[in-house]
Amino acid sequence: MFTPLPNALDRWYRFRMDWKRRRLRARAILRRGELTCLRRGSWDRDAILLFCTIRNEAERLDWFLHHYRTLGVGHFIFVDNDSTDDTRARVLALPDATVYATGASYKAARFGMDWINWLMLRHAQGHWCVVADADELLIYPHWQTRPLPALTKWLEAQGQPVMPAMMLELYPKGPLDQAVYAPGTDPTTCLDWFDAGNYTITHKPLLDCLLIQGGPRARCFFERAPNRAPTLTKLPLIRWSWHYAWVNSTHSILPRALNRVFATDTGERVAGALLHTKFLPTVVEKSRIEKVRAQHFGDAPVFDSYYDSVAQAPDLWCPASTRYGGWEQLEDLGLMSRGGWA
């Protein structure tokens, strides 16, 4: 499945991508004016930072903060993109958060990545960082007993600056709007099913990254156009350096070498999972709004039917769904791996 590139081509791609990296970084710097700092916090030199673009996520905020604080995140840096609920007021009230605000278009900012690229360039040099949306909960092998600093220290000893964690989409059994979720509680008790083994992986030689697709959304909504199914590759944990630039979302990064988080001999390297809690009951209402805003996908009209389907509160559950049972189960299923971190 993996085919190494001829040397000359590899060098050519690296050259091209190096210029792309510079362009992306310049673009992020040029767009820094879109951000206004509302609250500036301070953090230790070895603190783990979390970067998050957020919009109307009041419902998920409490558990999100709880989850990442328990993991050992030292400071949160939020970009609030025009929330209309009380999200902004609540992140402003946090003791361990820096808050930026913007009213600019999420899509025009390359789905928020220009903002994140700028803020990481500004604040993240030398720090281990988590980059996650409010509906993404990072887990990794032994996460309940070993907080992030243990992992980052081990990664450093391995000489690995990035850890991959593919998105694992969780869904309830039954129609999406029938599930009951109380804000502030663990969303995995309400969304407790997932697809265990229908993920397809393609190697993208230009970025030298993997494109992972599949899961319930591909299964239910993208049968006809599987190439359009959402990308599930994610690199949410990274030790940042000012050379770096995110390409599209946190699916891939430049310089190219950072995307090589996978072993191409027969071994396994360490990998976690990003539990995606998108399918809380409110997704039904939100997808109606998002369809009109058309801020989330590249070729937005193609995704109209996807939004329409979600707005009808479908049942993503199928008889072959698997009930979520912790990281050991995910490792057993080959969705994540301890990769030598015994």
């Binding site: 070993r146 600093p149 993920y199 072993a263 390297r269 990998a271 072959a320 080959g334």
Partner: protein, 554 residues
Amino acid sequence: MTASARLGVIMLCHTALPRAAQVARFWLAAGCPVVLHIDQAAPEHDLAALRDDLGEQPLLRFSRRHRCEWGSWEIVRASQDAAEVMLRDFADVNHVLLSSGACLPLRPAEDLLAHLNARPETDFIESVAITHATWIMGGLSQERFTLYFPFNWRRQRWLFDQSVEVQRKLGIRRKVPAPLEPHMGSQWWCLTRKTLQAILDDPDRPRFERYFRRNWIPDESYFQTLVRRHATGIESRSLTLVKFDRNGRPNLFYDDHLHLLRRSDCFLARKIWPEAEKLYGFFLSDKPASLPPVTPEPAKIDRYFELAERQRFEGRAGLYMQSRFPSFDVAGTARTAGPYSGFSGFDHVFENFEHWLGQVTGTRPHGHLYAPERVQFHGGAQVWHGALSASAGLRDYNPYMFLTNLLWATRGEVQCFCFGPEDTLPDGLVDFMTHDPNASLSLITGAYLLPLFRGRPPKGELLAHIGAMQQREQAWISILRSRWVQARVRIWTLGEMLADPAPRLEELVEGMGGGAGLRAHGLPALRPIEGFDAYLAQLRDKGLPPAILKEFQR
């Protein structure tokens, strides 16, 4: 405790000093004298905090500070200095234990004291002759003793490598000072006063030191070599548990290793992650003494870490995931997770072939997995294990991973399925299966003609359709008959199979362990083929090339 404990503990500390203080207090409480060596690089205020924390202790000493870089001679210096302080200040100490600030005692101090008191003449030090030391993880073995190492391995890696290369090329060899015989082993030892004093007072000490000073990682060889000269009773086993990974770095122990560590037969373990609250809380309390003892099972610990190592370097066969994406040409590895059998043409020749196969072999055979309309999972299921969809669109998006996913999700259960030239599987997939030792592929060539004979409309013009099928099948056969085939391949022409099906099916089923099932259920009936010869004649008259026709004739 009494002040007459006969064990003295040296601790080499450089970070996480509060943890070191905690462990030091554990030994002091047991009446064991402690000599602390604090690394020169540790910040002054941390040291002050440590002194405050421990307070005035009659049994506590600090030894002269050195800057101990990894693998440097200074570590030996620090150990020597601390040992001198220990032997000088505490006259009744009979055993001296060398440990680090990241070591954690696994059993009550009384256990260790009793163990040592019962063996007053024994030195516990791992000391292995280098000619037998094939266990060294990552790095040089013999050459540690015969080359010069002026550069630091961690900081000046390039210079280090170059200097080793150059010395190898020039054939530079140092002589081990007589009468020493190089030995190596874990840095962490527990020596008797007699042996330690003899090593420190060795009249040749300056000569030996000159030699070891330029060795690589002398902390793993200095005492280990000299002890062979002076000791009377060596138990070549360290009392401290250290698990190295393949790169030669010690694995850290975390809270979740608590139950594993309780199974150890060692008295200490390193390295402990400084934030492992549960480990420190448990092992430094009186809990290990009060709980019923567990039988030591050190093999269990070995197995645990070995498994992780194997996962890192060998991985799980047949798994394609975000952090494992092997190329196909990695030698000697299976491409899929478990055995599977593909049958081409059998369902056209035999009545209810899949059903019969399931009965005989006890498997759940699928229909045509790569049928153009949809995946024909066993029993017509819409989704299979792993939420694998029956949609043709999703399958054809990545037909390779459709197969590897299916085999991964059903590992432990042999998969059987039908395929044929009328399906949408790419030729590359046949190539993929051909080079997979897990595959066994059985083909009846020309069987694609039977559905046409029974009235299924051809795709496009009849002869063109037959020609295309034949070409595809020939392409497959040339792949299946190439060199380096890893799969179990059986190919018959339609004519051969129709002529004498029984022994061929028997051979197939026996190969799948279905001998008993075959005797119980018998052979499947042939589907009716009356008039097939006439149909062939009709095709011949329409202009089908005789080369193709030959395949079908009995």
